[in-house]
C-alpha cells in the first residue's frame, strides 16, 4: 500500500473538559473574580450574575475549552456559585457560634446582615435539596436562574421546555421555596 497522503486529522485534541473539570474551572474562576473585585475596590458590588458572565467571557476566549456551550457553562457555573455562597455562609455561621478556634477575619459593620444572609441562604440550600428530590428539573431551574441569572428564554432552552412551562414551574417552585424559608426562619 503506497503512503497515500490523506487529510490531516484534527490537531491532537485533548478531551473536552469533564463535568468535574468544568465545575472546578468555574468554581475557582468565580472565587478568583470575587477576590479580585474585593481587593481592588472593597465597596464595589459583587453580583453573581455579573461574575458568571465575566467567567463565560474568559472561557469563550479560550478555544481549547470548546465545545462547551454558553448555556452548558452557565448551568455548571450556577452550581459552583451556589457552592461558593453556601460555603461562605457555613463559615459565617460557624464564626457567629464561635465554633472556630481562630478567626482571622476583619469584620465590617455589616456583620449582622451577613449572618442573617447566611441563615437565609443555608435555608434555601436545604429547601432546594428537598425540591430536587421530587422535581430535579425545577431544582435545576431555580439554581440556574437564581445563582447564574439565566433569563426565561435561556432557561427554556437549557431545559428543553417551552417558556410558558418555565414561567409556571418557576412560579410554583418559588412560592413553595418561600414557604419553606419562612418555616425555617
Amino acid at each position: 500500500m503506497p503512503a497515500e497522503p490523506s487529510q490531516t486529522d484534527f490537531p491532537i485534541d485533548a478531551d473536552p473538559p469533564t463535568l468535574d473539570g468544568l465545575f472546578t474551572l468555574a468554581y475557582e474562576e468565580l472565587r478568583r473574580l470575587a477576590a479580585t473585585v474585593r481587593r481592588s475596590d472593597p465597596s464595589a458590588t459583587i453580583s453573581p450574575t455579573a461574575l458568571v458572565n465575566e467567567a463565560w467571557l474568559k472561557l469563550a476566549a479560550s478555544p481549547h475549552l470548546a465545545p462547551t456551550s454558553r448555556l452548558h457553562f452557565k448551568r455548571i457555573a450556577a452550581r459552583a456559585m451556589r457552592q461558593i455562597l453556601v460555603e461562605a455562609a457555613r463559615r459565617r455561621n460557624a464564626t457567629k457560634r464561635g465554633g472556630g478556634k481562630i478567626a482571622l477575619v476583619t469584620f465590617d459593620d455589616d456583620i449582622d446582615a451577613g449572618v442573617d444572609s447566611a441563615g437565609e441562604l443555608l435555608a434555601l440550600d436545604a429547601a432546594l435539596e428537598g425540591l430536587a428530590r421530587v422535581s430535579p428539573r425545577q431544582a435545576a431551574m431555580v439554581e440556574s436562574r437564581f445563582f447564574a441569572g439565566l433569563d426565561i428564554p435561556e432557561t427554556a432552552e437549557l431545559l428543553g421546555v417551552s417558556e410558558a412551562t418555565v414561567l409556571r414551574d418557576w412560579r410554583a417552585a418559588k412560592a413553595w421555596l418561600a414557604v419553606e424559608l419562612q418555616r425555617v426562619g
Binding site: 500500500m1 503506497p2 503512503a3 497515500e4 497522503p5 487529510q7 490531516t8 486529522d9 490537531p11 491532537i12 473536552p16 473538559p17 468535574d20 465545575f23 472546578t24 475557582e28 474562576e29 478568583r32 477576590a35 474585593r38 459583587i46 453580583s47 453573581p48 450574575t49 467571557l57 472561557l59 479560550s62 478555544p63 481549547h64 470548546a66 465545545p67 456551550s69 448555556l71 457552592q83 455562609a89 459565617r92 478556634k101 478567626a103 482571622l104 469584620f107 455589616d110 447566611a118 437565609e120 434555601l124 425540591l131 428530590r133 421530587v134 422535581s135 431555580v142 437564581f146 428543553g160 412560579r171 410554583a172 418559588k174 412560592a175 413553595w176 421555596l177 418561600a178 424559608l181 419562612q182
Partner: protein, 880 residues
Amino acid sequence: MGDADRWTRLQALFHAIAALPESERASRLVAATRDDPTVGDDVRAMLAQDAAGASLLDRGVARTAEALLHSGADGPLPTETFGPYRVTALLGEGGMGVVYLGVRDDLDARAAIKILRDAWLSPARRERFASEQRTLAHLKHPGIAQLYDAGALPDGTPWFVMELVEGTALTDYCTRRELGLRERLRIVRDVCGAVQFAHAHAVIHRDIKPSNILVTEEGSPKLLDFGISKQLAGTDAPIDQTRSGMRLLTPAYSAPEQIRGAPVGAHTDVYSLGVLLYELLTGRLPFELSDRTPSEAATILLTEEVPRPSSVAGRVAASRAAWEDLDVLILTAMHRDAGRRYPTVEALARDLDHFLAGEPLEARPDSRRYRAAMFIRRHRLPVLAASVAVVVIGLVTTFYTVRLRLARDLAVAESERTQRIQAYMLQLFQGGDDAAGPADSLRVTTLLELGAREARALDGEPAVQADLYQTLGGIYQQLGRMDRADSLLTLAYARQRAIHGDGSREVAGALVALGRLRIDQARMDEAEFAVRAGLARLRRERPIDVAAVSGALALLGKALREAGKYDASIAVLDSAVALRGAADTATKGYATALTELASTHFQAGHYAIADSLDHLVLPLERRLHGPGHPLVAEILLSLGAIQFDQGSYPQAETRDREALALIQAWYGHDHPATASALTMLGRALVYQRKDTAAVSALQEALRIQERVFGPIHPRVASAVNELGNLAVAQDRLEDAEGHFRRMVEIYRAVYHDDHYLIGIALSNLASVFSARKEYPRAEATYRDALARFTAALGPEHSNTAIARIKLGRTLLRERRFAEAVVESEAGYRILGKQSEPGTSFLQAARKDIAAAYDTLGQPERGRLYRSEWERIAAQSAKKN
C-alpha cells in the same frame, strides 16, 4: 414535603386556584382538599407567598452574595497548627486556596501555609493541589519557593507549608528602584535559571508573569505558583491529556499555543519570559489589551505583529546597537511560531549572558544560517557524483518492477516481441556512462525522452513501436509525468487499433493501460469507461484469458473504489477473485485481486474484513515470492494502515517496522520503496508523539525521494505531507504551512488542476489557517478543496465528507452555528455510512454538532449527538 405525586398535586392546585378570582379561592380550595387538608394548608401558604413576592428568591441573590463575600472572610480554621507551624495571619486567597502566615516557634522561622478550601467539592481540585505539592517537592532551587511540609486536616482538607517569600512583584521592584537595563536583565537571567531548573525536572510552569515572581530585598527573584504547572513524563511520551491544570488564562503573558489549546512545552515558558523582558525593558506589554474583550485580545495576540521593543517610547535607556540586539533577543523569545523561538530557556539565558558580556548573540547568526539552510534545502539538486550510480540502480529496479507488472497486465509476457523490447530498454538504461556527465543526462526523464525518440524511429516495426509507446507511457505514469504518459498511451491505443483492429486483444490491452492512467489522473469516469471497454473485448476472446480478464476486473474494482463506489467495487473484485481463484489460487493475479479487495474494504472502513483478507494474502505472497519479497512487505504495510486507521498506533508501528526491514534488505537503504515504508512508519510515530524518531524517519524518506525523483514528484509530496502533520502536532505552524504549500505546488505541477490530491493538500493547508484562527482564509481554502473533491470524487466520497466536517468546525469557531451544522451534519451522514463509528472525524463531528445545536436553541438534538459521542468515547476508553 412528601413525594413527587404530592408535589404534582400541590402545583396543579396552586395554578388552578391562582387563576380564580380572589373571592372564590378559599371555598374551592377547601372543596378540593377534603381528603387531605394538609394539602390545602400548603397551597394556601404558597398562594400567600406568591402574592407577597418578597422572599429571597424575589429579591435576588445579589445582596446576599454581597453580604457573604464582601467582608473577605474565609472563616475560622479548625486548627491553628500545621506540622510545626502555627497560623498567625491571613496572607491572601485565590481561586484555589487560602494562604496563611505560619510561624515556627522553635526555629523562629516563618512560612506560608497553603490550604485547599472545600477540598471535597471536586476530585479535580484535589488533584491540582496535590500536583502543585508534588512539583514543589521535586524542585529544590534557590530561585523557587521551597516546600517544607505537607499533610491533611482531620476533615480531609489538604495543606502544605512552603517557603515564605517576602518580596516585591518583579515589575514593581524594578520600577521602585529605578533599575537600569543591565540590572533588569540580570534579574531575568536569574529567573531563567529557575525556569531552566524546572524544565530539567520535566516541569513546565505555564504561568510565568510578574505577579508570580517576587524579588527579595537582596535582589533575588523567586518563582511562585506552580498551580497549573505541568509535569512532562518524558519527551517521547504521549501528551498528558489531563485537564486538572486547567485555568482561564490571562492572555497578556500566554503563548499563542496556549491560547489555541495546542500542546505546550518548554517553548511556552520561553515565550512568557520574552513577554516579561519586553515589559521590563519597555515599560509596557507587547499589545494594548486593556480595552479589549478577551476574544478580541486572543485574536490580536494570534494575528498582529509585535511592535519592535526599540520603537516603544519610554523604554529603558541603551545604545542603538544594544537595542538592535535586544530586538532580536526579545522577538526571538516571543516568536509566534514555537519552532522559531529559542529552543530552550538555556539558549535564551546564553544570549542574555552574551549580551551582558558584549558578545554577539547566537540568535543573529542563527537566523541567517536558518535562511541559508532553507535556501539550500529548497534548491538542492542531486549533484553528488557518488549518488549518481545509486540513482541509476534505483531506476533500473523501478523499471523492472514496472515492466513486469505491465507485462502481466498486457498478457503478452510470453511473446518474443516483449523480450526484444525488454532487452532494448535495458540496453537503453545501462548504456549511460555511470561515472561521467552531469546528473541531468542520467535522469530518468532524459533517458525516457531518448527512448521515445528511438521508438519514433522504429517505423519499420510498427507493432514493436506501439508496444514500446505503451511501455514508455506506463513508465512515465509511474514517474508522475502524467502529460507525457497521456500522449504516449493515447498514441499506443491509436496505433494498436490501426495495426490489429478495434476488437483485438492488443486494443483491449491498450484500453486497460489507458484506464490505469486515468485512475492516476483521478478521471474516474473515463477510467471506468476505458477499463470496461477493454474488458468487453477480453471477454470475447476464446479461449478466455482468465489472467487478463481477472486483471482487468481488479483494475475496474480499483477505479470504482477510487470513485467512492465501494459496493460496486466489492462486487467486481469478488468476481475477479472468484474467476481467478476457480482456475488457480496460487497465482499472482489471484493475490492481486485479493489485495485490491482488501483495499476497498479498508477504504470502506470494513477493517475486520480488510484485515482477514490481508492475512489471507500474506502467506500466499510469501509462498509465491518468498518471505522477504517486497510484495509481502506491501501487505504488512497494509495491515499497518488498518491498525493506524483504527487508532492502534503502536501496532501500526510494529507492522511498518517489519515491512521496512524486508524492504531495506531487498532494495537497500536508499530506494524509493524504503522511503515509502519510512513515510508510513513516520506517520505512526507522529501519532504516538515519538517526535524525534518520526523526524528522522520522515526526513530520511524525503531525502531519498528527492534524490531519486527530483524535488517535484508525488512521492516527495507524500513525505512532505507527513512532515507537515508533524509540524502541526508540534504547533510549528509556519513550518507546517511551508510543507503543505510545497505539497500543493508539487501536485499542481504534476497533475491536472482538478486532481483530488490537490484538494488533500489544500485541506491540510486550511487546517493550518484554522489552527492559527485565520478563519476566513481557512474557510475559503476548505471550500476550494471541497469543490475539487466533489468534482473529482463525487459528493458521497469520504474525502468530501471529511472536508465538510472540517469546514463545519471552522464555521463553528467563527460562531456561525447554523452554517456549521449544515456542513458537519452532511459530512457526518456520508462518512457514517463508510467508516467505523469511532473514527476521529466522526467523533469530532458529533462534538461540533452538539455544541452548535446547544447554541442554536435545540438542546434536544444536541443531546442526541453528545450522548452518542460519550457512548463511543467510553467504549474506546474501555478498549484501551
